[in-house]
Amino acid sequence: MKAAVLVFPGINRERDMARTLKLVSGSAPNMVWHAEHDLPAGTDLVVVPGGFSYGDYLRCGAIAARSPVMDAVRAFAGKGGLVLGVCNGFQILCEAGLLPGVLMRNENLRFICRDVYLKVERSDTPFTRGYNAGQVIRVPVAHGEGNYIADGETIAKLEGEGRVIFRYASPDGMIDPNWNHNGAINAIAGIVSERGNVLGMMPHPENHVEEAIGRTDGRGLFAGLTAALSKAA
């Protein structure tokens, strides 16, 4: 794996992400500053980490999405390159037009920082091959704007094409408004692009990868990516 982790002013989860990538894949990622016009040669995975790029000014992710490096990411994704956006990274990918829809203020207006349960809808993607379809994983969220929404037509398309990859669920995998913490439409926690090579998700799988933390449910995502990329290489 030759990952590139994008770094924007105000981002604060890039080191967690880099640590996890190194731990699971064995190779440390390149950290790529937002003002760069190119990704390092040979990059096979771009990760847009979480945090508060530009202090969430204007709209979450709006200013980061217009950074020079995002043109390179757009070109990379256009060629089928794998892109993972977590939390603010998901917001940035939506603002950049790489994923449809938008993340609105949480329905209860509160910043939510806790573990959530996610139902993995599909295991036949490079991001989720480390899981079984229908499996429930427990990972943390930390966001104020995670309430996913798009117009009805887009939602119907996402659902029809099986592009909802993660949903907020109960511990036994039931989709229930009580477990949909931020009020996202159809309990959507993560979606992929039309070609399936760009994943955006609000929860932080990179924070549940070590026994010392108590849980390792997030590891499957990075192990799956590592396997997918070593197979492709």
Binding site: L58, R59, A62, V102, M104, N108, L109, N147
Partner: protein
């Protein structure tokens, strides 16, 4: 030349901030408020003096950055 871009949420998009403000007005005893929708106002100083050019520039600014047209509408005005 001075200009103003007003960005508002599209109809039908849930506005939790507007709802909270609405609730706060009610609890303050400000009566007669049926609903509140929150938006943004950008006051912009332009170098150009040509109103036609100014309008085109403001539209570009709004389309490319100031508004997320998935959920927001905008209105541009050249104030003079």
């Amino acid at each position: 030349m001075k200009a103003r871009v007003t960005v508002t949420l599209k109809t039908g998009i849930l506005d939790p901030q507007g709802k909270a403000i609405e609730g706060a007005l009610r609890s303050l005893g400000v009566e007669g408020v049926a609903s509140v929708r929150q938006g943004k106002v950008f006051d912009i100083e332009l170098e150009a003096g040509d109103p036609k050019k100014a309008e085109a520039l403001l539209k570009e600014a709004a389309d490319r950055l100031l508004a997320n047209t998935v959920i927001e509408n905008y209105r541009v005005e050249v104030v003079g």
